[in-house]
């Protein structure tokens, strides 16, 4: 997405289209225009922005539609994909220069106008952006400069030279851009119009279909490519028109600077993005905007890439690739814009050069081919660095290689700013999509990023808060799916909490006969069911079976075939709603009893000594008044019970009629049972005094305990038995401190062994020691007994084993290592409060039904499955997420799309049996480009992380890591091969929507589970493994790529958060303070040179050296800065399902190591690659795949 956003930025270029602007968005055009890339972009909006990207995207969009999103993002190894595209174009231009003509032909056709526009735009844009341009240009200059230094660059220049032509093309592109932009400007709305024209392309077929037409657009787009060319040339072109493309330039050359500059630039782009969107709309509708934006970004990135990359590329072996990458970047652009133009002309040659991938690609994708024509340019573009070589068509591959060394040398460093920036992507999406509600009426819409605040209007598809997919456009055939390697998965959070502005799902009661369902596949009534025969029957949207409408449910249809009561019935008009379940949906055909909470407290020596027992008891006294009420009940229906334990268990009778509680000790842990029935589970209000008395006495009773051994399995068994005896579902809250070594079932031994790390046996550390807990979990699930585990270990306690039951029953684990009252109390209490209060469903079964053609095949998350389709959850709370993977078992049709229905049968906290239904419709595509354009990288990462984390159970970690890298390489290679315009193999081209895949993937690979540092304990790894498995997309996003906020940049007068920065140490300034959060921890990093005043204001101490590391909360000080920082913290805490631990880190302090671990773009202590290195590596992998 981010890429897309950049692409949008591109749109900005598109703005260059300003021509369009002229049409509509001058501003954009102006700015973006500068992005000369427009030329390229012109073709693709994307390209344009990046110069290349922005434009390209547009161009593509229009033409390719799909590509718009996906394709745009190609990265140069170094630079962001967009840039590459642009570059490509640029390069192409050169060669393509001629090509353009060729392409020109096509271009001309449509272009003329475009050209005019484009050019005009471009120029306009350029001028407008000129200033910007300068910067970019400056940056570009780098590139160029660098490039220039490098022969290749020179060549590129030369090419650029041609590029000028390309420039024209650019103009053309621009035109397109403009077109795109125009549309964009008119964009979103008008977009359609554009869409049509360009957007036609959007249609998967667009490229092909549009072919000619497209070309024209392409040509225009091609024009953009030139822009991209400008990249290579960018400088030039950029400087010229591109400047507008600032983004691109800025991005390219001055990664850092540009970013900022771009930022602004982008901001505008949005509008352009809007345009992009317009294009997108055609394809995906809303999404586009993002793409639009992204393009610009990419453009920037690309720009950066190209410039720097080439160098960089050259430097490392990957560099070559990188080199190529950068070029590739251009290719992107090339693809978009340039390709077309140059393609024709130069293509042949280029194609030849590019042969391998591109050629084929082209072949494969006729449409693209069209577009590709541009690609050939790319080929040439990539060439840019090696331009000369490129010039030698054949030389490309080898030449590059050969060149690489030289390039490498100069390009020793890849400019980090030039590579796709998550921050930028997030920012853009936020800016572009945060403002208006996301309306779910349209099939296959890509929702805004999880990092964006947006409202959802349910108009027939479920909210992205409930379901997010890796792609909203599903390949029609399994072959396609296999080819792309893009996993098709949905991340489902069935009981997600909605913001107060959104309505929770309506409750539908279909009476005694229960919800209306399809006779065959048992799907529930939903908006996609088709009523026929005057409403007497309905046809299932999943299996096509026709079912009689029961008389009581009959309703006439109106002239459109809609039921007259369409808007009165949530199940006909909304994506999410609930049914009241009948007795048939209940266990044993009996309505369930209200659930129960059982608090089970470890009272062994450690727990008592640390003050934990007292703390829990105190807290429970007040917390019990806040049990979930499930709707509008006056008091909670949930009953509570209490157990304490060490190596024996103590049950408490707190019956209201008793004067004092009774304690019942069960020492027979080998054969656990619950010693009492009546009086164990009680209503809080009725037994208030007895409970209070109990909670007062527990700490006293065990104050002198010397018992250090604990049991564990019997504790769960006891809770389970209690629930069984009470015939209800419920949740156990277990507060546990140590490895259960007392003689009892489930006894564990300390098997921690760090020597196993990086061996084939490492997986055993993640596996439970004994099967006992698995069986226990099974029993728990059967009873609806969910287990929440609060751990307070002082040493190894085998989370991997203890967590088994929790994990399989849908519970949560909380871990407070070395728990200390002063520092951890707040965090624990907050977690406990939230855990107790949150809405939770019990005894749940989830089933995902899909259209014929795909099938849910694999499930990830905290649950138990006894067959292959039903996800059984003893408990499911509002934070728990289940990731479902789909596979084809037949063909899908583009017409009908693919539907998902997730049905969750559960018992509410009030004891009501309900069915929650979420429906989602997705598009189907026959073009890979469509797939790539409608992906969501965050969701993809969520899936990949879960997949990998599960993999470590059975495979050596290295295998898992390699598989992960390989899969991503394949995904990207497939894109490169099939969707990106042909370009040099040395170019890294990333799909716009997956622009961030490498950086995020690298974060996953570097995570503690997959690559533990020496200080990471086995327990921590197991703990994190479990946590991640239940995380939703937003959580994985921040977990893997933490949010880093410069505190000193805080504007104390505004509500807004300071702009995040990228997770790299180079971005930290000694004079600043930063806040970093990853969902588990909050770090406050204090630079050594921070002003004393600030320190005084925030920490209440007078100097840096006096800041205490042990602080667990910030002192409450009455000054605006302190207030603001604390309010930011509170806000962050409120966003997360767990209370984050605050850690103060002083620069150059020992804790800094800990902090640096989270600067995920850097090399990690444990050997994790830096972003740049990884990108290079990735590129290498892709190249290998392509060759």
């Amino acid at each position: 997405m981010s890429v897309n956003q950049q692409a949008h930025a591109g749109p900005p270029y598109g703005q260059p289209q300003p021509a369009y602007q002229r049409y509509q968005q001058p501003g954009y055009g102006g700015q973006q225009m500068p992005g000369v890339p427009h030329s390229q972009y012109g073709v693709y909006n994307g390209p344009v922005p990046g110069h290349q990207q922005p434009a390209p995207p547009q161009g593509y969009f229009p033409s390719l539609g799909l590509p718009s999103k996906g394709s745009p993002v190609s990265l140069n190894s170094d630079t962001s994909s967009l840039a590459p595209n642009f570059i490509g174009p640029l390069r192409t231009p050169p060669t393509s220069g001629a090509p353009p003509p060729t392409s020109g032909a096509p271009l001309p056709v449509g272009q003329p106008a475009y050209n005019q526009f484009g050019q005009g735009d471009v120029q306009n844009g350029i001028p407008a952006s000129a200033v910007q341009m300068q910067r970019p240009s400056v940056s570009q200059p780098f590139i160029p400069g660098s490039t220039p230094t490098s022969i290749s660059q020179l060549s590129s220049f030369q090419q650029y030279g041609p590029s000028p032509t390309s420039a024209q093309q650019l103009t053309n592109h621009m035109a397109r851009m403009t077109i795109g932009s125009v549309p964009t400007s008119a964009a979103p709305p008008a977009g359609l119009g554009y869409g049509p024209s360009t957007s036609v392309s959007p249609a998967s077929g667009s490229f092909t279909a549009t072919g000619s037409g497209l070309y024209t657009p392409y040509s225009s787009s091609q024009g953009p490519p030139p822009a991209s060319m400008t990249h290579g040339l960018p400088p030039t072109s950029l400087s010229q028109g591109v400047p507008l493309a600032q983004p691109a330039f800025s991005g390219l050359p001055l990664s850092m600077q540009r970013l900022p500059s771009q930022g602004p630039g982008y901001a505008p782009p949005p509008s352009s993005t809007g345009i992009g969107p317009s294009n997108y709309p055609s394809t995906t509708g809303a999404p586009r905007p993002s793409t639009m934006q992204s393009p610009p970004l990419s453009g920037q990135a690309l720009a950066g890439l190209p410039a720097s990359q080439p160098n960089h590329l050259s430097s490392p072996p990957p560099p070559q690739q990188a080199m190529s990458g950068p070029h590739p970047g251009p290719p992107m652009t090339g693809l978009q814009g340039p390709p077309p133009p140059p393609t024709h002309p130069s293509q042949p040659g280029y194609q030849i050069q590019q042969n391998g991938s591109f050629g084929q690609v082209r072949g494969s994708q006729p449409n693209y081919g069209g577009a590709y024509p541009g690609t050939p340019n790319y080929g040439s573009q990539p060439g840019p660095p090696p331009p000369p070589k490129r010039l030698d068509p054949d030389s490309i591959p080898s030449p590059q290689l050969s060149e690489l060394p030289p390039q490498q040398k100069p390009r020793h460093r890849i400019d980090p700013d030039a590579i796709p920036s998550p921050i930028q992507v997030i920012e853009d999406d936020r800016n572009n999509r945060g403002s208006e509600p996301f309306v779910t009426g349209v099939r296959g819409q890509v929702p805004p990023l999880v990092t964006t605040n947006f409202l959802v209007k349910d108009q027939g598809n479920t909210s992205p808060r409930y379901i997010r997919c890796t792609s909203y456009n599903i390949p029609c055939t399994s072959d396609m799916a296999k080819q792309s390697q893009v996993p098709l998965a949905a991340v489902i959070k069935p009981l997600a909490t909605l913001p107060t502005e959104e309505t929770p799902p309506y409750l539908v009661d279909h009476g005694e006969s229960g919800p209306i369902r399809c006779n065959r596949c048992k799907a529930y009534m939903c908006p996609f069911m088709q009523f026929i025969e005057g409403g007497r029957r309905f046809q299932c949207c999943f299996c096509s079976c026709v079912t009689e409408v029961p008389p009581h449910y009959f309703q006439h249809l109106d002239h459109t075939g809609k039921r007259v009561d369409f808007y009165d019935r949530p199940e006909l008009s909304l994506g999410s709603y609930e049914f009241l379940a009948t007795v048939d949906y209940c266990k044993n055909n009996k309505f369930p009893n209200p659930p129960a909470f059982i608090f089970m407290i470890d009272v062994s020596y450690n727990a008592v000594k640390s003050g934990l027992v007292r703390l829990i008891c105190e807290e429970l006294k007040s917390l019990l008044d806040y049990l979930p009420r499930g709707g509008n009940l006056e008091e909670s229906a949930i009953r509570v019970g209490f157990v304490t334990y060490n190596k024996v268990l103590h049950f408490y009778n707190v019956k209201s009629s008793l004067a004092q509680p009774q304690m019942m000790v069960v020492s027979d842990v080998a054969d656990m049972f619950v010693p009492l029935l009546d009086g164990f589970l009680v209503n809080v209000n009725e037994s208030r005094t007895v409970i209070a008395s109990l909670l007062d006495q527990i700490p006293e009773m065990f104050a002198d305990t010397r018992e250090t051994e604990t049991v564990f399995a019997p504790v769960i068994q006891a809770g389970l038995d209690a629930l069984k005896a009470a015939e209800c579902a419920g949740k156990l809250f277990i507060f546990h401190t140590s490895l259960p070594i007392a003689e009892a079932p489930g006894k564990l031994k300390n098997r921690d062994d760090k020597k196993l790390i990086n061996t084939d046996k490492e997986k055993t550390l993640f596996q439970p020691q004994t099967n006992f807990y698995n069986n226990l979990a099974k029993d728990c699930v059967a009873q609806g007994c969910c287990v929440d585990l609060f751990l307070f270990p002082n040493q190894y306690l085998d989370v991997a084993t203890l967590g088994v039951v929790t994990y399989q029953t849908g519970g949560s684990i909380y871990k407070y290592t070395y728990f200390q009252l002063e520092t951890d109390q707040e965090r624990f209490l907050n977690d406990l409060r939230r855990d107790v209060q949150k809405e939770v469903g019990f005894d749940a079964v989830m089933r995902v039904r899909t259209s014929t053609g795909i099938r849910a095949t694999d499930f990830f998350g905290a649950f138990y499955m006894s067959n292959t389709t039903d996800v059984e959850l003893a408990g499911l709370d509002c934070d728990k997420t289940i990731t479902v993977e789909f596979k084809h078992d037949d063909k899908l049709s583009e017409d009908s799309g693919a539907l998902l229905q997730c049905a969750l049968l559960y018992t509410s906290s009030a004891g009501q049996r309900r069915l929650r239904i979420h429906n989602l419709s997705l598009n189907c595509c026959t073009q890979l480009a469509d797939l790539y354009r409608n992906c969501e990288t965050d969701t993809l990462i969520n899936y990949l992380a879960k997949y990998a984390y599960r993999g470590v159970l059975n495979n050596p970690v290295k295998t898992v890591r390699d598989a992960l890298i390989n899969q991503c390489a394949q995904i990207l290679a497939c894109y490169r091969k099939n969707c990106a315009s042909p370009s040099s193999a040395g170019q890294l081209i990333l799909p716009e929507c997956m622009k961030l895949l490498p950086v995020y993937l690298n974060c996953v690979l570097k995570s503690d589970v997959l690559q533990p540092g020496p200080e990471v304990s086995t327990d921590d790894r197991a703990y994190i493994r479990q946590l991640v498995t239940s995380m939703d997309v937003a959580e994985t996003n921040v977990f893997f790529y933490p949010r880093l906020l410069p505190l000193t940049k805080v504007d104390v007068d505004s509500d807004a958060l300071p702009a995040a920065i990228r997770n790299s140490e180079e971005r930290l300034s000694k004079g600043d303070m930063y806040l970093l959060e990853n969902g588990l921890n909050i770090f406050v990093w204090v630079g050594v040179n921070v002003q004393q005043g600030l320190i005084q204001n925030l920490f209440g101490v007078s100097s840096f050296s006096q800041i205490s590391n042990t602080m667990s909360t910030l002192p409450i000080l009455e000054n605006p800065f302190s207030k603001k920082v604390r309010s930011i913290m509170d806000m962050l805490q409120a966003q997360r399902s767990r209370y984050m631990k605050l850690i103060i880190v002083k620069q150059e302090d020992k804790f800094e190591m800990l902090f640096k671990h989270f600067l995920v773009e850097d090399k990690s202590m444990s050997g994790g690659a830096s972003y740049v290195d990884f990108l290079c590596h990735m590129h290498k992998e892709i190249r290998q795949l392509l060759s």
């Binding site: 004092q660 009774q662 069960v666 020492s667 027979d668 009492l676 109990l694």
Partner: protein, 808 residues
């Protein structure tokens, strides 16, 4: 041998102050008794027997002993005695020193009045092994005029108080069933609370409750009542139980330091067993809050009752904390165990609890297993010196059959009633804590009975609430009668009435005659923990004359104690009935009776009418007749539980009570004279009489037909018929007197002619008039009994016929 000639026919005490020294040994005075005629001797023997019983608590079947094995076996009734070890002796103050023992390791008899003493040499000769022993230094001042008590004839029974080991207070562990009706539980709770006030403040008490689960209550908790809970279905070993109760401190204290250990011990146990003065309030409250077992009992089911595990835990708890200390486990149960080890019946109500019929048909699924469980427990308990009481109150059976060994082997009480809310239970329970003239509980603990005999005798065995200690010795016979093969038994709990039957065997060979006037001696040494927690030793030494059955049969015959013999034979019969088929036992009894009659009857061969028995045997056949009909041998009309209950009491009561059990006493009240005992015969049931029958287990007051009519008419309320009122009142008062003293309290039945409860009376009387012979007997006397049982008359006729038959 030296004193053999001088020995009196009766023991020395009878002759006043005669002592057994060498000097007096030659006294010829004893000869006078030889000339006594039979009737005189009869009277004298009765006195003698009574005196002996009062002083020593001993009744022998034969008071003159046949001097050879052969003759002894021909006597039919074995030489045996009923011993009441702790018979109350208000006139016998205990002495405060240790007994002096014979130094021969295999003997160790206690110095007694029968020993020869050389005052000058300060030596004494053991009268069992003839070992000559030095007096201990403390006896330096001994002389003929300064004798220690144990040498005085009137101290043939003597109590020693010895100081050994630490004194531990008495322990009472209540094991309470909570599967009771609300009313019952309430009544039980009250009884238990009441009992706390009866206990010595230092006594340790504990509480275990059970139902579906078993809860061991910790009594020392403030603010929160704490209990350890056990699953009722799982049999746990003693070690497991102790581990789970935290009674075993694994090695830790040992490591930490030795001195701590002794202190630690009481600390551990104190969690469950607390001195009453400390936790009186707590426990009272705890009992007050005791709830019925909360687990739901669905219709058609019995509540799940884990008696077996509860007892097991109780035993394990005491075993781990206070082994070899006096302790009572008091089990209160309101129904049969329905789960876990020791279950007697399933929880399905549709399956009734086993009956005798089922048992005969081998249809009692759980019986064997349950019995085994309880036997194991009982043996463990006995080994620890603790005892188990069972208070079972329910309308149906409660599994006493299976659980009987718990009480029978440990000397505990068994009480059976219909409900805890009856005076029967309440009074009985209260009476457990009754006190003697010294204000001490009438209970003693952890006793061991050691029997020593002269060489001519060996010990066959014992029957009573005891277990064998497997002490082999020279005086142990190979032929077992009852619990044999030992000369020591353990009696974990005994009260002043507890009576054991001890069977001997004469081993003297016929060809080695005992000199004239030789005496055989038996010494009973009972060591026990007095209820005051003192350790005491009671020593009873008795001697009887030997007689040659061939020429002195009449002496032997005259010295026959038919009452004791009847009880001793009955005990043997009942003991056999526990393991043998009922009819076999009856046949055995019959044969013994016939042989006895053949041996001692006077008759002409094959002439039944000529048959006569001497006075000393005259009642014996009648006892046997009633014994045959008694519930101890007949199971018809009795449930297995009832049989077990009756047998339990029969095996431990003293002679008088046992006789009442065998042949109930019937008193008649009428206007024709003062109350008088009447024949236990249907002919005694007359319209104008009130009858009072005491069967030990029941007290029946039966109003004759006319009396009942008068009472209905209300004459007793009319002033002019005050005498009638008094007549009505008289049996009530007498009954009350019995009720006041008996343990367990009998079932009190007030009925009248035609009343349904009259069956208790009708089933006991000799059916001399039945529907079969009613008209032959005429209308005047008594009322007919509807039975096919033979009457005493028929029985006697048969007996005579068989006895005189030459064919037999």
């Amino acid at each position: 041998m030296k004193y053999g000639r001088s020995a009196s026919f009766l023991t020395g005490e009878n002759q006043g102050c005669q002592r057994y020294g060498p000097q007096t040994g030659s006294s010829p005075s004893s000869c006078i008794f030889w000339s006594l005629n039979l009737s005189d001797s009869m009277a004298t023997y009765l006195e003698f027997i009574q005196q002996n019983e009062e002083r020593d608590g001993v009744r022998f079947s034969w008071n003159v002993w046949p001097s050879s094995r052969l003759e002894a076996t021909r006597m039919v009734v074995p030489l045996a005695c009923l011993l009441t070890p702790l018979k109350e002796r208000p006139d016998l103050p205990p002495v405060q020193y240790e007994p002096v023992l014979c130094s021969r390791p295999t003997c160790k008899a206690v110095l007694n009045p029968l020993c020869q003493v050389d005052y000058r040499a300060k030596l004494w000769a053991c009268n069992f092994c003839f070992q000559r022993n030095q007096f201990p230094p403390a006896y330096a001042g001994i002389s003929e005029v300064n004798q220690p008590a144990e040498l005085m004839p009137q101290f043939s029974t003597i109590d020693y108080i010895v100081q050994r080991g630490p004194q531990t207070p008495l322990i009472f562990l209540y094991v309470v069933d909570t599967c009771l009706e609300e009313e019952d539980l309430q009544a039980l709770k009250e009884s238990l609370q009441m009992s706390l006030s009866l206990l010595h403040p230092d006594a340790l008490v504990g509480l275990i409750t059970f139902g579906r689960m078993v809860q061991v209550h910790e009594l020392s908790c403030e603010g929160i009542s704490k209990s350890y809970v056990f699953r009722g279905t799982k049999d746990l070993t003693a070690k497991q139980i102790q581990d789970m109760l935290g009674l075993t401190r694994p090695a830790v204290p040992v490591q930490q330091g030795r001195p701590l250990q002794p202190q630690e011990q009481p600390v551990i146990s104190s969690r469950f067993l607390q001195p009453i003065h400390k936790i009186d309030m707590n426990l009272t409250d705890l009992l007050g809050e005791l709830q019925r077992d909360p687990w739901p009992v669905t219709q058609g089911k019995r509540p799940l009752r884990s008696t077996g595990v509860a007892l097991s835990i109780a035993v394990g708890l005491l075993e781990g904390t206070f082994p070899n200390t006096g302790a009572r486990i008091m089990l209160f149960t309101g129904g049969p165990p329905t789960q876990g080890p020791g279950m007697v019946v399933g929880d399905e109500l549709k399956t009734p609890i086993r009956s005798w019929h089922d048992i005969e048909k081998d249809n009692a699924r759980f019986m064997k297993k349950a019995t085994k469980h309880y036997e194991t427990l009982a043996n463990r308990t006995a080994a620890n010196g603790h005892c188990i009481d069972i208070y079972a109150c329910a309308l149906d059976q409660t599994g006493l059959l299976e659980m009987k060994c718990c009480t029978n082997l440990t000397g505990g009480h068994m009480v059976m009633g219909d409900s805890f809310n009856t005076s029967l239970f309440k009074q009985t329970f209260q009476r457990v804590f009754s006190k003697d003239f010294n204000g001490e509980f009438r209970m003693a603990f952890g006793a061991s009975l050691d029997v020593k005999t002269s060489r001519e005798l060996k010990i066959g065995g014992a029957i009573g609430p005891c277990i064998s200690l497997n002490a082999k010795g020279p005086c142990v016979s190979e032929n077992e009668l009852g619990i044999g093969g030992t000369c020591q038994w353990k009696i974990c709990s005994l009260d002043p009435n507890t009576t054991l039957a001890i069977y001997f065997e004469v081993v003297n060979q016929h060809n080695a005659p005992i000199p004239q006037g030789g005496r055989g001696a038996v010494q009973f040494v009972t060591q026990y923990q007095h209820s005051s927690t003192q350790k005491r030793i009671r020593v009873t030494t008795i001697a009887r004359n030997w007689a040659d059955a061939q020429n002195q049969l009449q002496h032997i015959e005259a010295a026959f104690d038919q009452e004791a013999a009847a009880v001793l034979m009955a005990r043997l019969g009942v003991y056999r009935a526990e393991t043998e088929e009922g009819p076999d036992v009856l046949r055995w009894l019959d044969r013994q009776l016939i042989r006895l009659c053949q041996k001692f009857g006077q008759y002409n061969k094959d002439d039944p009418n000529s048959f006569r028995l001497s006075d000393s045997f005259s009642l014996y056949p009648q006892f046997m007749f009633h014994l045959r009909r008694s519930p101890f041998l007949q199971v018809f009309n009795n449930s297995p539980d009832e049989s077990s209950y009756y047998r339990h009491h029969f095996a431990r009561q003293d002679l008088t009570q046992s006789l009442i059990m065998i042949q109930p006493i019937l008193y008649s009240y009428s206007f024709y004279g003062p109350p008088e005992p009447v024949l236990l015969d249907s002919s005694s049931i007359l319209a104008d009489r009130i009858l009072l029958m005491d069967t030990f287990f029941q007290i029946v007051i039966y109003l004759g037909e006319t009396i009942a009519q008068w009472q209905k008419a209300g004459y007793q309320d009319m002033p002019e018929y005050e005498n009638f009122k008094h007549l009505l009142q008289a049996p009530l008062d007498d009954a009350q007197e019995i009720l006041q003293t008996r343990f367990p309290m009998p079932r009190y039945i007030n009925t009248e002619h035609g009343g349904s409860q009259a069956r208790f009376l009708l089933s006991k009387v000799n059916p001399s008039q039945t529907h079969n012979n009613l008209y032959a007997w005429g209308q005047e006397s008594g009322s007919p009994i509807l039975t096919d049982d033979v009457s005493l008359q028929v029985f006697m006729d048969h007996l005579k016929k068989l006895a005189v038959s030459s064919a037999a």
